[in-house]
């Protein structure tokens, strides 16, 4: 929709997606300054509307991206490359492939929904709120699209700052503790990653003739960091890919969060405002899993394979442990937070079993989790706004006073539980199917999450929504207003879409996911031996299209 005006302006699509929030902010701030000059004052309401409009531009841009994207290619598309600090090999370098595509679409989709959802929730400092949300958007888009490792690190850190303020300013009573914990926790991981990035750049410098280059994939004939040969038995310990993998893995595992690095998450969620929780669960956590896919796996394939059993073990613990701990929470938000630990354990499992189904399921499940858990946080926020409590015990019988809200909450619950025809099932199923080929006991343990998720979600639903209305305060609750219904519908529709017709999402991933596995194989790891499935035949079959179906005989 916007591709022609962009062409006319000479702006490439990906840059537009990364920087539209900043451009929007620039325009808005200038307008505000001008109006101040003439004695006017921009009201909070106007800021909300303006922020929403900017976020909608982002959504339109991402839909354009989806349409422009060519699913038949496996490499990076729409690549842009511009020198930034050329002497250090630091370039502005972005591109998109089938793995990034839907994370971009998800991010662009969630922002307007979240802004709309927090319309009345964020009452103070609206201008700052819009500012931070848009800045956060820029950081997330940049981190997803970066193909220069230094640029990636910059965006990665850029995201932290607005999140820090979102929790710190609009958060709950223990917001300072939570936001410090969040910040420092993430920082520890990312500093290690920075060191690893610098080492990678140096190794690349050593191998490819003394040119410092942070480009992840080679540009214009030059070699990228991905082409560097990393040893498993380097003479110097820090040149060993095991250590580099560990540094990256720690940064990403904290972000995911993988058990046992998860304790910042419940605190951050409980203290964060609805918008903060939704964006945190919806997008930020995906950067961890995305990091594994984009960097840890292809850069350090040998180390990945060595670490996989351990990581799978942590995933399994996370799946079961997260679910069990979620079960006994008394605060709805904390329950959803722990359920995230469980769900993301499953996503990580899908990644580390290194099968096509597992990986595609994992990417899809990232999107699913973003929508479903984001929706859960938003819905919990709606009731929090009315009752100023999230204690499960202070509810009961909400279904009678807020029937529409209940329907949306139930749909979201079942999406999170993984009921077929809703989104969660497709991702979960593919991950488990992919896991089964590689690691059968792991698949069996992970599948038990199917039972546990039903237990903790439905138990909560029963205590909140069913039974008699016991509390006086609940008696007078108003059902959703039009704005809230709009938000809920916007969130529920993609759940059905992905659940009923996942091909729109799975087909563009196919080639990039097989490409990822092929890259790892090219670097000398024997994935076939690990998964028990020969990869080459699979990729050939993927390009041939679906196998002819025979019925009968």
């Amino acid at each position: 929709m916007l591709s022609q005006p962009l062409e006319w302006l000479g702006i490439d699509l990906l840059s537009a997606i990364v920087f539209y929030p900043l451009a929007g902010l620039g325009v808005l701030l200038t307008l505000e300054m001008l109006s101040r000059l003439f004695g006017g004052r921009v009201s909070a309401g106007l800021w909300r509307v303006a922020g929403f409009i900017v976020s909608m531009i982002g959504l339109v841009l991402s839909v354009d991206l989806w349409q422009t994207f060519d699913p038949s290619k496996s490499g990076m598309q729409l690549v842009e490359h511009m020198p930034w600090l050329p002497d250090f090999g630091i370039n502005y370098y972005v591109g998109v492939d089938g793995i990034t595509l839907f994370l971009i679409v998800l991010t662009a989709f969630l922002l307007p929904v979240i802004l709309l959802a927090s319309w009345t929730d964020i009452a103070s400092r609206v201008k700052q709120y819009v500012f931070f949300m848009l800045l956060l958007q820029c950081g997330m888009m940049g981190a997803f699209l970066s193909l220069n490792m230094f640029l990636f690190y910059v965006f990665w850190e850029v995201m932290l700052i607005p999140m820090y303020f979102l929790i710190g300013i609009w958060g709950g009573p223990r917001r300072i503790y939570a936001t410090m914990k969040f910040f420092i926790y993430t920082m520890v991981g990312s500093l290690l990653m920075l060191v690893a990035i610098l080492i990678l750049a140096f190794l690349h410098y050593q191998e490819f003739g003394g040119v410092l280059n942070f480009d992840y994939i080679g540009w214009n004939g030059a070699k990228g960091i991905l082409d560097t040969v990393l040893h498993t038995d380097g003479s110097i310990w820090w040149q060993n890919q095991r250590w580099l993998f560990l540094a990256f893995a720690l940064a990403f595992a904290i972000k995911v969060p993988l058990f046992p690095f998860h304790t910042w998450l419940p605190d951050a969620h409980v203290e964060a405002p609805t918008a903060g929780s939704a964006i945190l669960a919806g997008v930020l956590l995906k950067l961890g899993t995305y990091g594994f896919l984009r960097y840890a796996l292809p850069l350090f394939p040998q180390a990945t394979l060595e670490a996989a059993p351990w990581l799978i073990g942590l995933c399994l613990i996370g799946i079961v442990y997260g679910a069990l701990v979620a079960m006994v929470q008394t605060d709805i938000k904390k329950l959803v937070a722990y359920s995230s630990v469980s769900h993301l354990g499953l996503v990580m499992l899908g990644i580390f079993v290194l099968t096509i189904q597992g990986l595609e399921g994992a990417v899809l499940q990232m999107v699913n989790h973003g929508i479903s858990t984001g929706a859960l946080f938003i819905l919990v926020g709606m009731i929090y706004e009315r009752r100023h409590t999230r204690e499960i015990s202070s509810f009961g019988g909400i279904a009678q006073v807020m029937p529409v809200f209940t329907v949306f909450f139930l749909i979201t619950t079942f999406s999170s539980i993984g009921l077929p025809v809703l989104n969660g099932f497709v991702g979960e199923y593919l991950i488990l199917l992919g896991t089964f080929t590689t690691n059968k006991p792991a698949a069996v343990i992970a599948t038990s999450g199917v039972i546990l998720s039903a237990v903790y979600m439905l138990w909560m639903v029963r205590r909140v929504f069913f039974g008699a209305v016991t509390s006086e305060a609940n008696q007078k609750l108003q059902d959703l207003n039009t704005r809230e219904k709009l938000v809920a519908v916007a969130l529920v529709l993609p759940m059905f879409w992905i659940g009923v017709y996942p091909s729109s999402f799975l087909s563009p991933m196919h080639n990039s996911v097989s490409g990822l596995l092929l890259t790892m194989e090219r670097k000398g790891v024997d994935i076939a031996a690990y998964t028990g499935v020969r990869i080459h035949t699979r990729v050939e079959a993927a390009t041939e299209g679906e196998a002819p179906r025979s019925s009968g005989e």
């Binding site: 410092l212 025809v421 439905l458 929504f465 799975l506 499935v533 005989e553």
Partner: protein, 685 residues
């Protein structure tokens, strides 16, 4: 490729009608905040299953009359649902004799129960009533059930499988203001999920095995075609098995897969040890108990086992397990039914017991007998539930049979149809239950593959006696003798309107005649009408499920049937003595057998056992150990905050002097550090 003769685009209409009914009605209800006028609700809700029935019936006629060179089935492939590389799951429907029978039962009985519900739900006196909401759920259920029986592959079947579970959850907790109802709904869903867990594993095993064999598929017909290649496969036993000193068994892969699917069936069809949710499911409105928890959904497991019969034929171990679990469940549930006081509970345990019969039949590889009993049971159990609902309505929502009695004259129609239902279930010739139960017993008697088949046959025969006893007890306690209801209630009891009684009459007719029409044994057919293939259902199904030929003489057939009737008669006589002629004997007998009676009345304390052994420890462990100790004390307390304290300690005692508070200094130091590090690397020192 799909042959032209097999493609049939009408099939998608069958589930589509109820789906549309549910969607249109449901979306309206959600956003308009007002119910439609009841006439429109009824029109939309009831026309959906009836339309499906009409389409299904027309396709059934085509199916039965068409000539196929390569198997009798229609396929409707709508689109590729999930495609990830070698894994392809089509959204497609299969209409073969097996699914045809199921679709007819589901839409037929479903339509009747929709109509009955108009009357039943009309005077809902509760605060959380929802006439339209009820029909939305009912339509949604019909849709899911049709997906289940029409699904052409395991995943579409699973869509229906989970969908019916969802509707069951919603409908059990329909009157959600009472926490007990919501709890029962939750219990049903969670217990079903335990089965689903195993079901999913079963799908994974099969897909993986077929993938290894070079035919990645979960499609029923394709699996059936290639199952022979998997028969020799065994499951790799994990090495730790040997290390802990266990004997290393060889598990056939198909047996393991078959057992996984059967655990799924145990959840859905309420077999040991996962039957506990079904009696509690009676918290839902009575039409729901009839439709979902008696006639259709709970039989999904039986259907699935028959659908997968091509697998079970190669998995004798799994089949024997099914037979034993089925037989034991039949007996076990029947013993509980003897003591229950709530009329719906009696019927619920009776359903569990009858489902056990169906699994017994499936386990003996007489799949057509299982489906036959499934169909007749759908008729007479729906009839019994709906008639019980009529009684409950008449008694102003009283379900305790201790407060009934003497309703025979007050509700004459209900009385007659209930009696027909009772006679059908206890196997009185020539009602439908007689033929279907007879075929099951015959199959068990002739089976030589299942270890202990003769014992199971005896158990089933004895259970038939129990069935006769508890059903007649129920009948006598409700309809005969002096009433135990209060005079006020009793004086207001009256017969229900036609919309309630009408479906009862239709079901009563089906209960009487369906058995003889569908499954008149070949031996009798030969004898009476010189028709050697009078068991039409069996011959129709034999094109889908493998049927072992029973070669049995007329005398043997008559003898076995006579034995079953004799057992039922003796038990019936006993019930008549105790609950009709000499009711004063009962208290004494109860007292004499009070230990047995208490155990049975409390359902062997199975629920209490599960609660004490599984649920409570799990919650305690999660809360006290995992959350409070591991999460809060160890990881967060000792780990995260501990490190934070340590760092702060160090900082307080030294490093704080480096903090000048000048931002420029920090930036400068940071820059130096970064540059120095890079220089160090580039320099390659």
């Amino acid at each position: 490729m799909v042959n032209d003769g097999h493609a049939n685009d009408y099939l998608r209409l069958i589930p589509l009608f109820p789906l549309l009914g549910a969607l249109i009605s449901g979306i309206w209800l959600m956003f308009a905040r007002k119910e439609w006028p009841r006439s429109i609700v009824i029109l939309v809700a009831c026309s959906a299953p009836i339309a499906s029935f009409v389409v299904a019936f027309s396709q059934f006629l085509e199916l039965a009359t068409a000539k196929f060179p390569d198997g009798r089935f229609f396929i409707d492939n709508v689109y590729t649902w999930i495609g990830s590389h070698s894994f392809q799951a089509e959204m497609s429907f299969l209409f073969d004799p097996l699914s045809a029978v199921m679709v007819m039962v589901v839409t037929g009985v479903g339509s009747l129960i929709h109509i009955y519900s108009i009357g039943y739900m009309d005077d809902d006196h509760r605060d959380d009533k929802g006439f339209q909401r009820f029909f939305v759920y009912l339509n949604l259920f019909t849709f899911s059930m049709l997906m289940l029986v029409l699904g052409d592959n395991l995943l579409v079947l699973f869509v229906g499988w989970e969908g019916v579970g969802l509707c069951s959850y919603l409908l059990i907790g329909f009157w959600y203001l009472e926490d007990h109802n919501a709890m029962c709904g939750q219990k049903a869903f969670v217990v079903n999920r335990i089965g689903d867990f195993a079901f999913l594993i079963g799908i994974f095993i099969l897909f993986w095995a077929f993938y290894q064999a070079g035919h990645p598929t979960i499609d029923f017909l394709e699996m059936k075609a290639h199952i022979g290649e998997l028969t020799e496969l065994t499951v790799p036993v994990p090495p730790w098995f040997a290390t802990i000193g266990l004997a290393v068994p060889t598990w056939k892969l198909l047996t393991v897969a078959g057992l996984c699917f059967f655990v799924g069936a145990c959840g859905k069809s309420a077999q040991l040890p996962l039957y506990v949710w079904l009696p509690d499911a009676m918290a839902g409105p009575t039409p729901v108990s009839a439709l979902i928890h008696a006639a259709t959904m709970v039989t999904a497991g039986v259907y699935m086992v028959c659908r997968m019969s091509f697998l079970y034929d190669h998995a004798p171990g799994a089949l024997s397990t099914i037979a034993w679990v089925g037989g034991l469940t039949a007996f076990f549930a029947a013993t509980i039914a003897i003591t229950q006081k709530d009329i719906k509970k009696v019927l619920a345990y009776s359903t569990v017991s009858q489902l056990g019969y169906m699994f017994l039949a499936a386990g003996m590889a007489s799949y057509s007998a299982a489906i036959f009993h499934l169909a007749t049971h759908a008729f007479f159990k729906a009839l019994l539930f709906l008639a019980a609902g009529s009684v409950i309505l008449g008694m102003h929502h009283e379900q305790d049979m201790d407060k009934m009695g003497g309703l025979r004259r007050k509700m004459p129609m209900t009385h007659i149809v209930f009696l027909i239902g009772v006679l059908a279930i206890i196997g009185a010739p020539p009602l439908s239950g007689f033929f279907s139960k007879d075929e099951i017993l015959l199959g068990a008697f002739l089976n030589h593959d299942v270890p202990g088949a003769k014992f199971l046959w005896g158990l089933a025969l004895f259970t038939a006696g129990l069935t006769s006893f508890y059903m007649l007890r129920l009948y006598f306690r409700i309809f005969t003798g002096p009433t135990r209801a209060s005079a006020d209630v009793f004086s207001h009891v009256k017969e229900q309107p036609a919309v309630v009684v009408g479906p009862l009459v239709v079901l009563a007719l089906l209960s009487v005649f369906a058995g003889g029409v569908m499954g008149f044994p070949d031996a009798y057919g030969q004898w009476l009408m010189s028709m050697p293939d009078s068991n039409s259902l069996r011959h129709f199904l034999s094109e889908t499920v493998s049927t072992s030929e029973h070669h049995i003489s007329l005398g043997q057939e008559l003898g076995l049937a006579g034995l079953a009737v004799f057992v039922a008669l003796v038990a019936a006589g006993l019930a008549a003595v105790l609950y009709f002629y000499r009711t004063e004997l009962v208290p004494g007998l109860t007292k004499k057998l009070r230990h047995v009676h208490t155990v049975l009345l409390n359902k062997y304390y199975v629920d209490e056992f599960y609660h004490a052994v599984i649920i409570k420890p799990l919650i305690r462990m999660s809360d006290a150990l995992l959350f409070r100790v591991v999460d809060q004390r160890i990881i967060d307390g000792a780990g995260v905050n501990g490190i934070a304290k340590l760092v702060r300690g160090i900082a307080d005692n030294g490093i704080k002097f480096a903090q000048t508070g000048l931002a420029q200094t920090y930036v400068f130091v940071m820059l130096i550090g970064g540059v120095a590090f890079l220089a160090y690397l580039v320099g390659g020192i």
